[in-house]
Symmetry: C2
Subunit: 507 residues, 2 copies
């Protein structure tokens, strides 16, 4: 039936129908309608809410995110009818029943995810079925290609193009802020798209945003990379592999970490930016995503195989994942730490070693350094100041202040030192508790919020020594973090003798 | 933070926050908030939409279905904060990973489904994981009990209480309209809750609504049953096993028919109405839910075992499911057909035989008839007019007109006869195509819409004989049904020789 568009500023990809109209076209709350603006030649699907009073019969309330596609103006007449069931639902059902996705089916599903034809519930079903019944390497390849095809791509004329990715799960992993300028300083190109924090205290995009804007369309990322050799941007703004963000959104409530989807999602982004050479950092250890080296090697082989299928050279680095990288968690604190290293600071060792190792692998793969010489070459690029110079160019090309110094980036004004309750050793530093504290203190939204860890695991401390400092931009957030920190106990200090076992009783 | 309630008439169980407020309490679109009306002592969870203009900062828009629980009035101050992740999500994740639900976990999930703590996507994940990884008989029992506990129950003082259920999948299955009055006429009690059509052309509730109101609270259903021995109501209005409706809603897009959930859902309703004696009709055949007698027997054993665990006596009847029951599809047509049988019409045979058989099983189980005598007793109750008298009492107690006659219930004024294109036999009558036509003609919403099938499978017809008639209340719907019918070809007429195989060529 013909209805007239009324634009409603609600951030939900649906429409609002008067219940009389809904009844006439035979749809109920949550059903799907097809909305066609015949003059403009645009037709979209959306899910229905109903009302008896908010709008008149004859009017269709179009919510904001839907109108990004429909692009109708107030009063536009549109044809609205009950929508056909999308084919992708039967493909998802097939996976529930243990079947395999074909290439075409995968593309259809991913298209329907990207253009919101599938509802959140339906995407959840896709994610769940793929997680439970798994995807084989063919299906992972189809998914990767479908994610690339349904988004934008960079097309560099000069190669090789380098990219890197960290699987995540380790706090304070600010290595991208060192690796990108090192690689770019070597003359290679590295258009790095990064994520914002989902569960962490700051994704690389959150960190880079301290220094410069990070939201650019794909074409702009390509131009900036061509100009200065590298960029560090937020992938979410580029429309590169946009299906991935949605899939992750629906995995998040269940903490689903579906292997096949994760590999496809990482590799789709690398493929879409035109990378030839990819280094994957796989942190291994308790409390990371990958518990053992065996598991890490298996994952590495899968990345490498998928790379071969897509024509990309992939190497993986298993890294130590049980302790945070560097000493800081939170945007300003981490950026300060990374900039200081670029400016010549001799530590923290964990940050420098890891960054140089991974940059070195990429330099060797690209033929910039002989096998075994990549680390040293990366170290030279860092120590000579060339990486710092390159970072300043990257900051400038992204619209930040290239004269910025580490000392300019300061933590929040409210601080609290957590001190050792007794002499002893730091026998436990709970990463996820530390991240929770940093988030409570305001990280990553409040750039000054976060933690500075003075005594990592194994360090000898005396009673009253500061073990870590919590920083916040707002006093009440600091207080909340302190309060919760008392319960969470992210740090345990004990004597080297942990427990005295008394002699057995004489029976 | 404290926000002020503004009621919004939108049929979606969520709230609308100004984006500034959303940012302050750290939630994004689709996230979950806890809303507490501290004065009233009510706290509920809901999912968030955001806006920058529809409401002011400081205001929370509460949608209609949510306010059914929150019961706040315009201007009520409420405390709104980002909600904790419900525990049931980790239980669902455990099922994804192949684990088993405990009794407590099942109850927690079902509670969260009933009070809308879980989002549609999360319920879909539950349904999907349970479907793929299955539920064992313990888990099915837990689910049944949880569905019963989270809804209302009938408590009859006089027993036995009888109930019946048809698994569905056969069109025109109006047997409940005969079985309930027959059982009630025998002196037994049968409080029958029925569903509305989901994919069919009419559920029993849609049919009964032609004769009387069908929406009653559970207590009313009990009173009516105590008064006249039976009732035929819409289960959706009773709040009996309310989790079931929601689970079905999220299975529907995928046509999931999860065995364990289906058994639990059927048996929860029987248990909640206090039934001691249950007959399950399992139609078997191609195009029904159960393809073979073997499969039907397996399902029957599961129903019987679950019944034993819950203290109910269950018998199952495998019935012929390949052809419609009686000759009609659609509310008025089916009700007319059933009433006519109650009034003494000697056919249709398929309807009478099936109804008497199933009623007979219940009469034998309840000890009203000796083993092997139930069918005859049911036939006596029908032929003597006692069942008709009882049906009139049931119609009256539900608020309908007890003097109604079959001839009063007429089909829609617009009709079209589909005639045999040639002499021959009806070799195919496609049930699902017939249902589609009935729905296109307006069934079950337009009560007069539906089909009257004159020549069932195997009938000899002459060119021009009417095979079936399409009825509609509105002309344009009739036309649409005719148009689609031309393409669907629900009936195939052929000579008995279907194909001539020519002699092999001489090579």
């Amino acid at each position: 039936m013909k209805l007239t568009v009324k634009l409603l500023d609600i951030a939900n990809r649906g429409v609002l129908l008067h219940s009389t109209d809904a009844q006439n076209i035979r749809v109920r709350d949550g059903d799907r309608v097809q909305i066609a603006d015949e003059t403009a030649g645009i037709s979209v699907q959306a899910h229905v809410d109903t009302t008896s009073s908010l709008i008149e019969p004859g009017v269709i309330g179009v919510y904001r995110p839907l109108n990004a596609t429909l692009a109708a103006s107030e009063g536009t007449p549109v044809e609205v009818r009950s929508a056909e069931r999308p084919l992708s639902l039967s493909y998802i059902k097939k996976k529930m029943d243990g079947g395999r996705f074909t290439k075409d089916e995968t593309l259809e599903i991913v298209k329907d995810i990207v253009d919101d034809t599938l509802s959140p519930g339906e995407i959840t079903a896709y994610v769940t079925a793929s997680y439970i019944n798994g995807l084989d390497m063919d299906e992972v390849e189809y998914l990767t290609r479908a994610m690339v095809e349904t988004g934008e791509r960079l097309q560099f004329t000069r190669h090789p193009v380098v990219d890197k990715h960290s699987i995540g799960g380790v706090p304070g992993n600010k290595i991208t802020l060192l690796i990108v300028p090192i690689i770019a300083a070597s003359g290679l190109r590295i258009p790095k798209t990064s994520s914002r924090a989902i569960t962490g205290a700051g994704g690389t995009a959150d960190l880079m945003e301290v220094l410069a804007p990070v939201s650019f369309p794909a074409a702009e990322v390509q131009k900036m990379t061509e100009k200065v050799g590298g960029a560090i941007v937020w992938g979410g703004a580029t429309n590169i592999a946009p299906a991935d963000d949605k899939i992750i959104t629906y995995e998040y409530p269940f903490r689903i970490d579906a292997r096949g989807q994760m590999i496809a999602s990482v590799m789709a982004k690398k493929f879409a930016v035109g990378a030839d050479i990819v280094v994957i950092d796989i942190p291994v250890g308790r409390n990371t995503k990958i518990a053992t080296p065996q598991e890490g090697r298996k994952l590495a082989r899968e990345f490498i195989e998928l790379g071969e299928r897509l024509g990309m050279r992939v190497e993986c680095a298993l890294s130590y994942g049980e302790s945070l990288v560097g000493h800081t968690i939170g945007p300003n604190l981490e950026v300060h730490e990374a900039l200081a290293v670029l400016e010549g600071a001799p530590e923290p060792n964990s940050l420098i070693q890891k960054s140089l190792s991974i940059a070195g692998i990429a330099l060797e793969m690209a033929g910039k350094a002989a096998y075994g010489q990549g680390f040293d070459m990366a170290a030279d690029l860092l120590r000579s100041g060339k990486a710092l110079e390159k970072m300043r160019q990257i900051i400038e090309v992204q619209g930040g202040d290239p004269t910025v110094k580490a000392e300019d980036i300061v933590p929040g004004e409210y601080r609290f030192d957590v001190r050792a309750p007794q002499d002893g050793y730091v026998i436990e530093l709970n990463n996820s508790a530390l991240v929770t504290l940093a988030r409570l203190a305001g990280s990553p939204y409040d750039h000054g919020a976060g933690l500075d860890i003075h005594a990592k695991k194994g360090t000898r401390v005396r009673k009253g020594d500061p073990i870590f400092t919590i920083y916040a931009d707002r006093e009440w957030r600091l207080e909340r973090a302190i309060e919760v920190g008392r319960v969470l106990m992210p740090v345990v200090v004990e004597g080297m003798v942990l427990e005295r076992i008394p002699p057995e009783r004489w029976v």
